[in-house]
Symmetry: C2
Subunit: 128 residues, 2 copies
């Protein structure tokens, strides 16, 4: 059986994501961890964390992939990620709005597995 290990790089990246108020891209993380580990390793660690359900992937409206921790995963074992993300065009940050759940009425015969809902505009920090 395949196991997963706790390495220093993995722990550092996981902590980084948990302490960040916004979602981080691969490049953000690379800038932050510096020479702690290789560029390629960051890709692989992020894949692993997604696989393990520790973080989730967000595709921003500009196509850039960002990552954020799954805040509600502990409390909800069968968690889904159907909350709203907000992408600020001014400060270029992506935030998880964990409490905002969108509603919609689909035609019959569509079976939804995942939801990806991103709003873009001006965030409260930038609107002032």
């Amino acid at each position: 059986m395949k196991s997963t290990r706790n390495t220093t790089a993995k722990s550092a990246i996981q902590l980084l994501l948990q302490q960040s108020s916004v979602a981080l891209s691969h490049k953000d993380i690379q800038n932050e961890v510096g020479k702690l580990c290789n560029r390629v390793t960051i890709y692989r660690i992020l894949d692993r964390l997604v696989e393990e359900g520790e973080i989730h992937k967000i595709i921003n409206t500009d196509g850039v992939i960002k990552y954020a921790p799954c805040n509600q995963c502990e409390s909800h074992p069968n968690h889904n990620h159907d909350h709203v993300h907000f992408s600020c065009v001014k400060c270029d940050t992506v935030t998880c709005l964990d409490n905002v759940q969108p509603s919609y009425n689909l035609p019959p015969d569509y079976k939804v597995q995942e939801v990806n809902f991103t709003l873009s505009g001006i965030c409260p920090n930038c609107i002032k």
Copy 2:
């Protein structure tokens, strides 16, 4: 003043999109038009069509960019693209659900400019 011209390649691509029931990626279009025009030209034509408001861009959940015509643009001059897109994981097609408009309750001080709402799962064609 800058004008825009109707070239054979542009017309062909526009027709292709209008006649397609699903959104098309750059690669889809390239396969379809064959040697009619260059790879780079397709990129530039798609940019132009988006600019002109003839088509809109959809970022799929896997990060692939797809394009679809703006069906309601003629009737709604100040149209927005806040309808739902459905991405089928089985047949890998993206469809515009023009009539499905999501609703959500944002915290105050968020100013929304654009909406990007993509559901993924199994489409009616594949569920049978």
